[in-house]
Structures are given as C-alpha cells and as structure tokens.
Symmetry: D2
Subunit: 347 residues, 4 copies
C-alpha cells in the first residue's frame, strides 16, 4: 500500500482523483489540502465522496504531505513549481496535473503563462506523462507532468499518422470541442449555466496555452517542427472532449482507408486505454464518460487527400485525473489498469 | 462464481446491469438476449461495454438462460410473466426489473396494465425487492420484483414517518421529478432531445402506474390504506429522480426538526445504500449519479405543520439495475454492497 | 412616443427588457446604466442587441434618467429604494423589477432582506404590478413593484381557488421548479454549468424571500391569512418556472373537474396573458419560452380531495421583464399587449 | 395582404414558419396541411401557437392551396417535387424548404437521394434562395429552393474569401456543429434526449447530402470546382449551427487580419442578415437563437497560412424558415426584413 496526498482538491480534477482513488485498497489517502476549505470535511464539499473518504481538508503546507509516497497537484499553474522541490527532496514522487512542467522550453512556457518559472531545473527532470509515448520514462520518474486535456486527445489522434510520416506536417488542423468542466470550478460569469448552456462557440482562436504543448509532442514524433491550427470550442456538456483532426497527405504518398485502419490498430494494439473503433463507427464523448479510454476513428477523404481523425475522451479522466492515476500505477509498479477499468456511464 | 443472464438488454436498465456486472469476477455473464439485436455484438449497441463484455445478443428463448443461476428481466411488462415460470422450474432464480410481479393484487395490476396477468400464481410467490423493507424475504426468494424508480424514492422517503405513525396518511403528497431515461430507450417523439430539453412538465396527473405500487408499500407500513397525490414530472436531465414529499403531521402530534433528523438517522443507520444528509444539507440528483445511493433530507415547517422530505436517487441504479444487483447480492450470499460501492460521477 | 431608461441593465432581466423594448417605435430607449460597464457599448455585453440598440452604458447617476417618462430598475434589491424618490419627484414614473417595494409590511421586508428600508413612505404608494389583480391601480401608479418570478406563477395559479373560497387555506403547498436564469447573471460557483447541469435539487426549504410576497398576495385574495409550504427547486434549464400547486378542498365543499375548469376559464377569460389549457393538456415551460404567457391547468384528485394546479411561465418574461412592460403599457395607455404578442420559441 | 399555405407543418421548420408568419398583418395563413394530423387543431400540436393561429390541419391535397399566393413546403424530400408543378400552373409561387430543387445537376441529386427526380424540368427553373447571392433572381422566381442549414452557414462563411480568389480551393475544410433540431421531429432513437444529451459526435464523415449543395454554391463563386472536406457534428443543444471553416491561403498571396476583416465587412455591408463581428469577438450560437442573423468572424493564423472563419446561425431560422420568409419578402415586394427583425433570445 502506498500513501497518497492531493494538493488543491477542491476543483473538478481533485474530486475526480478522489473518485478514482477512494475505492482502492492499495492506496491510502493520507492528506488532502485546500487553502479556502481547510478544516472543512471533504464530504461537505463533494457529497458524492461521503462515506468513501473521511478526511478533512488540510492547509496547503501540511507536513503530512512529506509522509506520502506520491503527491498529486490538482492546482492552477504556479503552485506545483513552488512546492514540488521540497517534496521531491523529501523523497516524495510528484504527479502534477497543472501545466508547470509540461513545456520543456522554459522561455516558451514563460511567454504563454506570463510569469517567471520558479523551478526551471525541475522542468528538465520532469517526464511528460503520456504513457502511450513515455511509459518507460514514467516508470522511473520522480516528477511527472500530466498532459493537458486537449493535448492528450490531439496527440493520441495524430501520432500514428505523424510517426508513419504520412502527413504534410506544416498544416495540421485540430478542431476540438470541450465540455465546460475543462474550465474548472471557479466563479466566473462565462461558465454559468445560462452563459454556456444550449450554445457552442469557439474561443482562443488567436492562441491557446495548449498549442505549444501539442506542438512539442507532435514535433518530437515528427522529428522536426510542425505547424498546427488549433481551434478549441466550448460545448454545452459537462464532460468530454472530441477532437476532429484534419491532415493533408504528403504529396506523392498514397493511402487508403484500410491501411489507415490497420495503422491505428497496430499502433495502439497493446494500449489498454486507447481504443480504435471498428470501420464505420465514430466515437461520441458519451462512450467514454467517466472512463479512462480515448476512443479513436480514422477516415480518409480521397477527393481532398485529407485524413480525418476523431478522438473522444473524458477530459477529467484520460484528459486529467485518470491519466494521473495511470501514471501513478506505472510509477509504483501496480498493474497499469488498476482502478481504471471503470465502464463509461452510458447514458 | 454464479452464472447470470439478462433478457432484453438493449435498453437503459440493460446496459446499466452490464456496467455493474461486467467488472465482477464472481459473476459470469453467460447470455444476453434481444429480439431485435440477436446475432449482433453487444459492444456495437453499447460502445461503453466494448472490451468489458464480449457477448453477442442471443434470441430471447436461448436455452442458455436455463444454465444460469440467475436471470434478470430488463424488459417491458408482460415479458417476464410469460417466461419466468419455465426458468424457475429449471431452478433459475429470477430478478424482474419490470412491473409484472410488483403488485400483489392481480385485479388491480390488470386494471392498470390493461391486460390479463398470465402468471398470477407467481405473483403470490414474488418478493418485493426493496431490501430496506424485505431483506430477509429476498434472501430466500426464487423470484424478486424489483421496485419501480419512483416507488423506491417515495417509499424510502416516507417510510420512517409512516412507520412512526406521525403523519395524517390520508393526504400524502409526492411531487417527483425524473430524468428522461425513466422513459426508456424507445423511438417516441415525446422523448426527443428537442421535445424534452430545456423544459419541465408534469405528466400522468390523472393516474400513473407507479401510484398503486407506492400505495401498496406505504399501506403495509401504515397497517392501513393511505391516500396519495402523486405528480411525476419530466425533467431535462438524463438520469436522476428527486422526490419532494409533503406530509401533514397528525393532529395532536408534536414534532420538531431534531426529532425528525434522529428518526431518519436511526431508521437507516444500518442501511448501506440510504444516506440521511446532515442538517442543513439537501440532496441533488448529481450527488448520486451512477451510484446505488438514495440520499434523504427531512425538514419541518412548523407554520403549516408539514414535514418535507427530499429523496434523490439515480433512477437507473437504486431505481432499477443497482437495486437489482443489490437483490442478487442478498439472494446469493454475496456481501450486499459488492460491486455497488461506486462513487457517484460528479460533476 | 415615450422615453425610457433602464438602471442596471447588465443582467438577464435587463437584456430581456432590451429585447422587448428595442423593436418598439413608440418607446425611445434614452439611457441604460451600469456601474461596471459604463462607457462600454451595450452590444458588446449583449451581442443579440447589436444593430437593435446603439447605446453605451451610462453611469448609474446619469442625469438623462430624469428626462425619461419611465425608468425601469433591473437591479438587485436596495438600489431602487435609494434612487426612486428623486426620479419620482422629477416626474418620472418608476417600474421596479427588484423586491424593494413588493412587501407592504416594512418590518417584514427588513427581516427578510436584513437591511433597513430607506424609502418606507414609497412602499405605501407603490402598486404591486400584477395586472390580473391590480390593473386599475397600475394605470394611475407612479411607482410599480413588479412581482417576483415565483410569486407570479404561484398567485396566478392559486387565485381562482382562493377567491372562490374552495380551499383549506392554512395548508397550501407550492412545489416550484425554476430555470437557472432565476439566479441572475453573477459569478457564483453554485450556478456554473457543471454545478447545475443534469441535476435537480430543492433549495431554500427553510425559508425563501418570495414566501412572504406570495402569502401577502394570497392573503388579500383570501381576506385572511394563509399558510403556505413553498419549496423552490433549481432545474437544469435556462428559462422557465413550473409551479405545481396542491390545495386541499375545504371540508363540506364538493368540487369536480368540470367545475374547476370553468372556474379557471371564467376567472381569466379577459386576461390576454393567462391561458387556461383545455382539459387533458398540461403546460410545459417550453410552451411559453420567450413569451409573456402564464399557462395554467387544473386537475382534481377525488381520492385525496386535492386540487392540483400547474402554472408555467418564462421567469424572465411574465416573471419579470415582460410583466414590467405589460405594466408600462397599462400605465401609459398603450394597448396592454403591445410588443408582447411574441410567439414562444418552440422548440 | 398575401395568402400563404404551408404543406407539412408538423415539424420544426413548420412551427417556425408559423412563429414568423402568425404575427404578420400582411400575410394571411390560409391553409396548413398534414397527412397524419389532418382535422386536428394546430394549437394542439404546437401549444405556443394557440391564440396566434386558429387553423386546423388540412389534408395534403387541400384545394385551398391553389387559392394561395405562396405555398411553403416544410416537408421531407420528394414531396415538393411531386406537388409543385400543379401549384405553379395554378399561379401559386412555391418556396420549398426541402432539398428537391437545390441541386441543379439532376443526376447528382438522384445519386445522393437514391430516387428518381420527378420534376427535372422544374429544377432548371428553380432559384437557389440564398439572397446574399441571388437576390435579383429570387425577386422574379416562381419556385425557390431554400438552402439547407449547413450550406447557408458554410457558403456565407467562405464566399468572401473565394470570391476574392484568396484560397487554395482544392482543400477547403468545414467542421460544422449542429443542434439536434437539424434532425427534424421524427421518432428515431438516435435523437432521444438520452442519446444526444451531454455528448458530441461527428457523423456523415463518409458523405453528407449537404456536401454537393455546398460545393455547387462555392464552385459558382470560384468559377471552377472546389474540394471540400465537410464534417458535421451533432451537438447537445436544440438550435444552432456553428461552422468552423479552414482555408489555406494560395501560394504567393499575402493576407493579414485587418485586410480580411475589411473584406468581410465590405462584402456584407448591405446585407441585413449577415453580421461581421468586430475584431476580437467570436460568435456563439446563442447570439442568434431565434433570429434570422448569420454572425461571422474571420481570423488569420500566419504560422500555418490558414484563414479561420466562424459562422453562427439558428438552423431553424436563417438555416430554414427565416430564410424562407426572407425569400417570400423579396418575391412579393415586402421590405426584406419584414417580420424578421426579431432580437435573439439570450440567454
């Protein structure tokens, strides 16, 4: 049994970690912190947790964090980069769900997040926690940066094509649709029911913080830089991301539908949490609600020589907390699927 | 390990049974039937199940049903009453999620369902599967009638008051709000997204089939007939029932808030799936989405001498398939909570 | 043509006033104020208004308000009571959508709103703007207090029964379901999409500010005090209120369905914005979305001697801004239905 | 005053025509037909219409249709092509909201709709009713084919770029998101609340009937064929289409953001129902709910030399019935905006 702590567990990724960790006999939840809620019962904040977790929120600097084997940061950016070093020194392994350690180019990070990075030396050490790419590095990591929700879907969707060298990588397009929980649990007018319900809109067209993260991952696969047009959309649903990806086939390369299907099935044959849909099926976000699965379909449009990939995930699970637990499982030698074989809640 | 079959698993209670049973190592899903889908893979119908259940739908008269230890009927009414006898004779225990065996007064059943009952002898034998009332009978039952979704919430909400003799039972009021999944998965205009979304309405004011079922249960607790005004409402959400119950305190009886709180906490102290909220908290249906919990709160309005009870459940879980599995656990000597300690999916 | 001003037009009742007033050739929108948005174009805040209203938000103390014939307050409580006197003295008629002048018992108001009333002399003068009760007083009023959203539905629903003396008025029950827009447009966690979507809950069971307002109106009709149990519910939809009302028929009084239908049809025969549904029809909130109509149905349950009334309205129209415009029409001698004959948006 | 008839008014485009036409003093609704509902009051089918339209559904072959000046077909495809000729001969002008006369290449139409066209001679005569392109032809037309919902948004979005010759037109991409009302009001499982709520998915990736219609329009503007990848998505909302369009700038052509903004503003300067958002604003479908407006924004991504256009419309208004009325206004010499200056319902 390992001991786990969660820093900042009052948001949606926090309660999702609790949902996934509470039933596990092999993980003891030792401490859950929250600046605003300290001293209050976790069950008062999250009634679904009552009877499953009996803890009270601790202060963010709780010494119990150092008694943990692993600490999750379910915080806004800048918190983990401030606190991670001390925990690592105390021998605690850290899994950060925020953006602090995702971008290896510190200057690039600083330009997107408009603040100085306070732990640049840890950026070097941090492992990008996408198991489908970095499984071996994760196993040995002290510090894991869990990928963002959009980057998980977009990378898993594009990787087989890019690794196979099939696409004209200077003009990738990712049209992504996210549920409102992606915006977190903060009192902001824009995310009120009456502002987001029964309506869809694009946002961040001129730039979104997940853009450099996606490009970083795809460039590594491409062994060279990529050009990406990324347009996220706010969709009237609580959970889920659907990324619709468009890639132009390289001049002179011939592809067909069957070959693409095989490419995807082969690439993800051993991946427990990536599903390639049979030909003719397209994923809906409801197919993966509450599950750690990313569900993919690939199509080819010969007229326009365009490959269309659909990638559906639950942004709070495979796009955040589920992936964090998957990383933990790998790091601590648990079965990778432990506690994550939850069937999606449908309908 | 026991062997289980499901008849008619193409609706929402069917897929919910699959979600709850698929992960269990102690239950083998042997056969799943469907008239229209026979020969088709279950995963094609329910993509969330792919990788968890590998079965193909069988014909409704599949001989494999007789090899089961337990068969669930997740069918419209009239199916179970036709098929149950043969299975029972073959030694199979039957858990019926439909209405066929819920009402002990066969004539009353026939008047509400407008058809002759084909197995009146089994009605006598059937045990009404509300564990909070009938746990011991369920343990020995060959045939269990799983309560309806509304009846579960309304009975669990009213029972402590009625058992304690506090209410004027001739004028109970139950104002119940249900998500659209209560209507099942059938191609009917009334339940289209555009007909039910962003709108609430009452229905069945002049009579609803759950009315006699609720009255039967409350009358037993009351040791005498009850009068109930029951108004169900169709609410723009997929899952969940919230029952708001109003009861007038008997003349000459004095109650107060603290006493009511204690009454409820005491009544349900040992019930794993009934939660009494602490004073000041009120249940929302989201608190129990996907879980087998019924969440209760009780309030007193001294000005009008009215007790107000709120009961929230997931209509597909505690209101149907979860309760069916709870019954199965009791019948077969499993831990009653086995496979049902799912944390609600919040948000 | 009259000149109109709106104080505090950045919320949902504000934009709804704009929607209803902008197309009118007989009403000139002279000034729209907002403390936070002053200097900003109204169309930037409300894109639906672009091209219909070209104004910029003014400061709340804009002198142009005194040049208006009528000023609407679409503000939280306490604003109108501070500012109304000065406008009235300047000859401006005031229509207040807030609660400041709804309750004639100032001490009662102060106990519910936890603040001193700053214009108690105006409370006496103010006319409660429910045209179906106070049409003649409204015609001559300088100051109108527009009823709350719940009070409009509950009063219109109960009035015929109470005026006819049919009910045991000490134990009325109003179970009301409101869309989220009733909470206004404020950055509060509780009303985020992910907190309110796909879930229903009761709130304010121990007391809601609309309770004294409803009781005041029903007591007047009853010529004596009434007892009311009022339970509001937050429903996952943007607009709409459905009030389900339960009344016990007085001992010794005989009623039947046909008589109740006639009672309602007669009471509202000349009311342009109250619709009594034909027997067998029940109102849904979608039937009145965007319209100024309150749609009613009445049923009788002989077993429990209980009358059940359903009242549906759009909380932002008949429950707020539409009713405000209806009052304006009456006050200024326009056709009462002018600009309000909008067909509901269905679906 | 003109006399109007509607064939097949039991669907969503039918009730939307009623909403827009009922308030008009210059249009008399003479006859509304429906095969299944004949003899039934229109208000029973559409409660929002009660008090606004007093008609009863007539049989589809009602002779009153020939007494109309204009007849709208709000029917599935194949109805108008059967019935239009006889009406035209009788001097009635026909506005068809279905697909029967949209595609000028009859063989292409037949391959997509899998049936023989029964009125190919009328296809030649029919005018494609997109006023922003064909206003003068519409004015004189006897027979107008109202564009489909997706084609309206996609064409209005792409036209300025294509007319200006800026794009590489062999690889246009349209990622379109539609509310569920686009599927019509039919009893089909796929469009139940519980199948479509809280989930988004793509469909028709391998081919959608609006594809040839869009290509036809864009090819005309391009004076040469175009290549289009079109991926429609089913979005959990009742109304609205958002089309996100991606176009690659032609090699050697330099564009910038300001120039694109001017291009759009100039192209649509005189269009009453096309709005170009100011720089920095992006349209949401809620901005146009219930209105006849198509709201556009254009952005440029220099890194990928990609132009991104967002086009939002209400699929039932500018995407169907509103556009039909706009056509009627043009055909009969009414002010083009008559009855269509409805402010969107927000929130």
């Amino acid at each position: 049994m390992i001991k786990a702590g969660i820093v900042g567990a009052t948001g949606y990724t926090g309660v999702e970690l609790l949902r996934l960790l509470a039933p596990r006999p092999d993980v003891e939840l030792l401490v859950i912190t929250s600046r605003e809620q300290q001293g209050r019962s976790v069950a008062t904040q999250f009634p679904n947790i009552r009877g499953h977790v009996d803890l009270t929120f601790s202060a963010p600097d709780s010494p119990a964090l150092k008694d943990c084997d692993v600490v999750f940061f379910a915080t806004p950016h800048t918190v983990a980069m401030t606190a991670a070093a001390e925990l690592l020194e105390a021998g605690v392994r850290v899994i950060d769900l925020s953006a602090d350690f995702r971008i290896t180019d510190v200057a690039l990070w600083e330009s997107w997040y408009q603040t100085s990075h306070l732990a640049p030396h840890l950026v070097k050490e941090a492992v990008y926690g996408l198991p489908e790419v970095n499984r071996e590095l994760i196993r040995r990591a002290r510090l894991v940066a869990v990928p963002g929700c959009y980057p998980t879907a977009v990378q898993l969707g594009f990787l087989p094509l890019i690794e196979a060298g099939l696409l004209e990588t200077s003009r990738l397009i990712a049209d992504a649709k996210s549920g409102v929980s992606g915006a977190g649990r903060k009192a902001v007018e824009d995310f009120l029911y009456c502002e987001t319900g029964e309506s869809i809109k694009a946002y961040g067209v001129s730039g979104h913080r997940h853009h450099p993260e996606i490009c970083q991952g795809l460039s590594l696969a491409n062994q060279g830089s990529v050009g990406l047009t990324f347009v996220p959309h706010l969709t009237p649903m609580i959970r889920g991301i659907l990324a619709t990806l468009y890639g132009q086939v390289k001049a002179g390369v011939a592809v067909d539908q069957a070959q693409l299907q095989t490419l995807y099935e082969t690439r993800y044959a051993d991946e427990p949490f990536v599903e390639v849909r049979p030909p003719g099926e397209l994923p809906a976000t409801r197919d993966v609600k509450g599950s750690n699965r990313c569900s993919l379909a690939v199509s080819y449009s010969p007229d326009t020589e365009t490959v269309i990939v659909l990638a559906a995930e639950d942004n709070l699970v495979k796009g955040a907390s589920g992936q964090a637990v998957q990383n933990m499982n790998i790091m601590f030698g648990f079965e990778e699927t432990k506690g994550l074989e939850v069937v999606a809640l449908l309908p």
